[in-house]
Amino acid sequence: MTYLFQILNGVGLGMLYFLLAVGLSIIFGLLQFVNFAHGAFYLLGAYLAYEMVERGASFWAALPLAALAVGLLAGLTEAVLLRRIYKQPHTFHILVTVGLALVVQEFVIIVWGPIGGNLPAPEALSGVVILGDFVYPEYRLFVIVFTAALAAALWWLLESTRLGAIVRAGSESPENMALLGYDTLRINTAVFALGAGLAGLAGALAAPIRGVEPFMGVEALSIAFVVVVIGGMGSYAGALAAGLVVGIAQSLMATLWPEGARLVIYLGMAGIIVAMPRGLFGRA
């Protein structure tokens, strides 16, 4: 019975991981850009939501606003900073985004202090759902439903809109996009802002579960990498599937072999790259 509940709980975790990773995956797919600052956007989203709620805003307003603000900020960063180095080797992608992540993290400490804070779940969702012996917080249930709806919307965006078509074409072959005559610069910025905004949304959404603290971005980044690699870089469906796999695996390991949870996750990540480098769903 416990296993069943662990799987259910893992689904909740997995949806959050999906949201965290999907932006990283889209950015990589289109821009071939390794974004080590993705965790920093997650961190920033959480703190912005926290700040707004502290100042009396409702969580429902803070959630989209935080995501939007992070997206705008990321778009700006892309336009003035990152686009200069797309053509450079990965080394410099990593260097500039590691630097950016440090700047954001230290900035958060300067503004909000080194001690974290608590962002309570909205009143309406602060209870629990009871299923026999199993207890599940309403807020986490909301996260599952919300993320599922968002995943569907994102699916629609990527599959049925012009932007989606461009992104998909661009992911398959970067030259395509220029050949088709699109303004690649603006599309790059838009996609980067979208990816980072999703990370910010994940941060704001996770804040009532995890609280906020200045180093939450580091852990988020490593989870996002694991999910993206297992799912296949640039793959939307892969991010969803791998998010769920990692969430469920982590939750099950809590019962089976807690000490080895991390070891198993990274072993899985290495195994996937060696055995199937494009991940579960990556395009060949």
């Binding site: 080194p114 974290g116 982590q250 939750s251 099950l252 809590a254 019962t255 807690p258 949870a261």
Partner: protein, 401 residues
């Protein structure tokens, strides 16, 4: 050494730009003033503790300086929360003549620094949690203020069992490393003695942030009490997630090793309400030295001392007092001055046990109160109980050499 000094003075201007790390730290001041090194995680993940601890140490130095009419300074050393920079920078400080050190928040850095300081003939006073510091890894140069795991469990689990005779089923969540094992072992011993059923334990790694899986395990075991044995932000995460799973209504939650005020501030009163916390220090403790400190701090800085601040204040004060008494900062005389010392501390009368350099002091059981019942913004908890419980030095495994 001599020619190096000479070189430094003659070419100091030219070299200043290149050799700043060596020159910026007042080398001259070190020769006349009494210096206490304060190795703390000032940057990195534990920066919050480091910040307050540095403030506490500075206050102690300031007070002592005024009282003694002598220049007393603290020297902040950023350990980055990691043993390697900690050891390296403490070595450096000793190379420049510093012999007294008060600091070390994390077990791993404190253990290393204790060894380094002892090797160099200095004295290191710490608040870190690892039992080994005054247990298997104890040494002449290291002193520890905080109560080890045995006492923390004895002053939290034991009184709660007595208070709640109907609560027979306990579940534990434990970080898997020496500190967590220490707490768990002590808790198990109490369970066995008191006939408590230990219905399960979840181990987790030091990097864990997601506790829902462990909480699901705990719920399945249907305990009366959830005993959380991790610390710092991990215990905050565990408590936060436990509350969101509605566990507060289903069972009693005990956090055996809380950091006190700074943790309560991060959690907020709603999460803390009704939860039991074990703590080394609370600013509401009724002891003269503590009352004076609280009054002074409220007046000058509009804040209440938290554990990091208070402990660091006291350690620095103890080192300065001992150095004044001994008339030197050199290790052997300092150790002699500190061993067996009984003094009026922040938790009442405290004693430095000579055999293992463990300070014998109170450990507190606190209970979170409702937001409406708080007298001021820092009044998060009531003191439910306190007392001194310690293993003998032999039982703790300390063989001083």
């Amino acid at each position: 050494m001599l020619h190096r000094r000479a070189f430094l003075t003659t070419t100091s201007l030219a070299a200043a730009s290149l050799a700043a790390p060596g020159l910026l730290r007042g080398a001259r001041a070190a020769e006349t003033a009494l210096v206490v090194g304060v190795p703390l995680p000032i940057s990195g993940a534990f920066a919050a503790n480091g910040k307050f601890a540095a403030m506490g140490a500075a206050l102690a130095a300031e007070e002592a300086g005024a009282a003694l009419g002598r220049k007393v300074v603290t020297r902040d050393i950023d350990t980055e929360g990691k043993p390697a920079p900690a050891a390296r920078k403490v070595q450096e400080a000793m190379g420049e003549g510093t012999r007294l050190f008060a600091g070390g928040i994390l077990s791993s850095e404190a253990l290393v620094m204790g060894k380094e300081v002892a090797k160099g003939g200095g004295v290191f006073f710490t608040t870190a949690g690892a039992d080994e510091i005054t247990g298997q890894e104890c040494n002449r140069g290291t002193f520890r203020w905080s109560v080890p795991t045995y006492g923390a469990i004895a002053q939290t689990v034991r009184p709660l069992i007595e208070q709640m005779p109907q609560a027979k089923r306990w579940y534990t969540i434990t970080p898997q490393y020496v500190f967590g094992e220490g707490l768990l072992t002590a808790a198990k011993a109490v369970f066995q003695e008191k006939g408590i059923e230990h219905v399960g334990n979840s181990y987790h790694s030091l990097a864990e942030k997601e506790f829902s899986g462990y909480l699901t395990n705990a719920i399945a075991a249907k305990p009366d009490v959830l005993l959380i044995l991790n610390f710092g932000s991990q215990s905050s995460d565990t408590l936060r997630q436990a509350v969101s799973f509605g566990l507060k209504k289903r069972m009693t939650i005990v956090l055996a090793w809380a950091s006190g005020l700074e943790q309560f501030e991060a959690l907020g009163p709603d999460l803390c309400e009704g939860v039991y916390f074990g703590a080394q220090y609370w600013h509401g403790v009724d002891a003269p030295l503590n009352k004076a400190l609280v009054a002074k701090l409220r007046e000058t800085r509009k804040m209440s001392p938290n554990y990091s601040f208070a402990a660091s204040y006291l350690l620095t004060k103890l080192l300065i007092d001992a150095a004044t008494k001994a008339g030197t900062t050199e290790g052997p005389a300092m150790i002699k001055a500190l061993e067996g010392l009984t003094y009026a501390g922040l938790t009442g009368e405290e004693e430095i046990r000579a055999a293992d350099h463990q300070v014998i002091k109170n450990y507190y059981l606190l209970k979170g109160k409702a937001k409406s019942a708080m007298a001021d913004k820092d009044d998060f908890v009531d003191i439910v109980g306190s007392g001194k419980s310690f293993l003998t030095p032999e039982a703790a495994g300390c063989k001083m050499t």
